[in-house]
Symmetry: C2
Subunit: 420 residues, 2 copies
């Protein structure tokens, strides 16, 4: 007997037939004696329609009103799923963010969950009632205005709810079978990972693997909540209830490193194509220059990712290269041109034909030589490395975009990720 | 300077273009220095989609969940209108039923408004902020579940809000120009009425004239709130602000009888085609028979409208004829057949080819002879009267449906309603 939070995204609740499918997943757990809270997204397409209406109303709109409009999508799904569950003789009740309440800060549109009093819901679960909860939304500190967490926020809602009701497991049902060693569209031999550590998942999420929202993984890591990513498209009756399952069998568990017995040195290869490279040519090489370059960018809310500073040839000037999100490139160039006097450089060059490819694995902490192998393999394929960043469990290289797939395949083979 | 509640129905907010049109109506009043609260319905079609989803989820559904789903329609409109108003530099804020709160009883799906604390909203209006309020919905006494008032409930929301904020006027914007002496589709010479008393409007509403929800008129009458029905499709700039208008010029004012200086004996002709006639043949004519017939119908929640009992021919039996809503006919027949032993009758006959035509006017109170004129005029046209009911300010006759239009035209001419 477990307390389980089950989260279903937009494609899993896209129409009534899919919602009925979700209800059968819930029924399987209820029939096994488990206590279930369900977190739902808006039906696929509904949020886009609502956002389109808001933009049509005014391109510049009050975030509080945006939240009031857009939050209705999840409210519809929650009510419909509660009705379907009731029609299957499962006691169920829908809950909107303000009814629980899911308390957030007042950053409308990108709010962060601050607190969820879980006792009321936990008591309902203990009585055998299924709680169907709207993802993506909450209520701001004055407890009068609906807030939303930003796109993909329902993952975070689910994890926060799981923490609040002291659940044993938070199952994230999605349209993929789990987390893979890399994108199966690029490497058909990519393998589902049975377990991934929070740290690895964070690196993957922030590196463009869009299975889970980064914040949800952070929250799970802080509270040591076990997450599982699995597909809602498997026939619900083919799965066994959570307590009866062998954990390696289905989906991917995201858990603490110490729960993962057989660690690979490298767990996965991630890539991101929405990077852009900016080079400042002949920057004056004197103390404080980095602050003068990156200060104005930070003020403009532009995240800088990789940074490379070449050694100075004449002792007075250097070239400085860094990357930003592709969508931030125009704004970054504007900021840098505006600060040309202050920074002191000869010219600025940019390119968005670059990709970032990353090797991730907690095993790197104790294994030397991963980076050297990686650079050698890429060099043998003639792939030029434009920049490098590393963390304890990750090595990222910036390369020409045309080589992205080749690099991913090369590294996937190199670390034998296709093998069981 | 006035406090005004403006209510806009589904066709008036059907898309963003129409919502912008609504915003221009609001702007006209704000620019004139008036304090404005707006009550909105769901965009036309949205509520039907939501109801269809609920029915698809389960034909038998929890009314609490129905309410949670269906209430989202108004929430979307309120947010969008607030955004459009803000984009026109008009301070505005959306309010959902639970945020005000609009307190209702717990009859989900057909809830009645119990109380609205109006001071918070009134204070916002005094500060010059436009309050955009969701019609059709509120929150039940535990203040945790959304309730809805039933279809057309937004009229009632608007009147209740107007009472709560102590408004000077409640303007109901709709897709017709006001209340007419009769249906202009039947009588092209039908004339807009500048003023109608609450009592007359109540009779018209309950007799099939669908301009306003009956409950909203009752509420306005109890609180002596002036209502006005007018069209949202007139260019907003062609209207003058409420304080500057001559009241006869636009729409129809619904007000106290004593405000109407020049009273007509008859104000309007209403008709309803969704009636059905039921006749019980050879009912035993003894005390208590009416209770035995109408008791079971009342228990089944079937409203009986007109009742005619013929005199007994043999002193022992009588025929009894009455009308019910067409949509209740099958259920009524079922109930009567089930109670055949108890009631004691020979057979039951029914017909839905009947129509009710009514003459309405507060002037009837002081003028005799209206009924006699009516019966004579219908007889001259060869229209047979199947049943009659009267109230102080209304005479209704049941006739064959094929004569409905002829009867309406005849009566409209008889009382000279087409003349100014």
């Amino acid at each position: 007997m477990s307390f389980v939070v089950m989260k279903f995204g937009g494609t899993s609740v896209a129409n009534l037939e899919r919602i009925r499918n979700v209800a059968r997943h819930v029924k399987r757990e209820v029939d096994a004696g488990n206590h279930v809270a369900v977190v739902v997204s808006a039906m696929a397409g509904v949020t886009n329609q609502l956002v389109a209406w808001v933009r049509e109303a005014s391109p510049l709109h009050d975030a509080r009103e945006y939240d009031a409009v857009v939050a209705t999508g999840e409210q519809v799904t929650a009510g419909l799923l509660a009705i379907v569950l009731q029609s299957m003789a499962i006691p169920a009740r829908s809950w909107q963010g303000w009814q629980i309440p899911i308390m957030t800060d007042d950053a409308h549109g990108v709010a962060r969950i601050k607190d969820i009093p879980g006792d009321k819901i936990r008591a309902r679960l203990e009585q055998g009632e299924v709680a169907v909860i709207t993802g993506f939304q909450g209520i701001e500190p004055n407890r009068n205005r609906i807030s939303t967490l930003g796109r993909g926020g329902s993952d975070t809602s689910a994890v926060a709810l799981a923490v609040a009701v002291r659940a044993d497991l938070c199952d994230i049902y999605t349209d993929v079978d789990g987390v893979f060693t890399t994108d199966p569209r690029i490497v058909p031999r990519a393998r589902r990972l049975a377990k991934v550590s929070y740290e690895e998942m964070l690196e993957m999420a922030s590196l463009g693997s869009k299975v889970l929202q980064t914040r949800s993984v952070e929250l799970a890591m802080v509270h040591r909540m076990r997450l599982r990513v699995l597909s809602s498209f498997m026939p619900p009756e083919n799965l066994r209830p959570v307590d009866a399952q062998s954990w390696d069998e289905i989906g991917t568990i995201i858990c603490s490193e110490d729960e993962i017995v057989e660690q690979h040195v490298v767990s996965g290869i991630a890539y991101a194509k929405d990077e852009a490279k900016v080079s400042l040519i002949r920057v004056e090489d004197k103390p404080g220059v980095a602050a003068r370059v990156f200060g104005p960018l930070a003020e403009a809310n532009i995240n800088v990712d990789m940074i490379v500073q070449n050694t100075s040839s004449d002792g007075k000037h250097t070239d400085m290269t860094f990357t930003v999100q592709g969508s931030d490139l125009d704004r970054a160039l504007e900021v840098l041109r505006g600060a040309k006097q202050e920074i002191g450089y000869f010219e600025v060059k940019s390119s968005s034909d670059v990709a970032k490819v990353s090797v991730i694995g907690v095993g790197m902490r104790s294994h030397a030589g991963v980076a050297a192998q990686m650079f050698k393999a890429l060099a043998e394929r003639g792939i030029n490395i434009l920049a490098i960043t590393t963390s304890e469990i990750k090595i990222s290289v910036l390369i020409d975009a045309v080589y992205a797939e080749l690099a991913v395949r090369t590294l996937h083979s190199l670390y034998e990720l296709g093998k069981d």
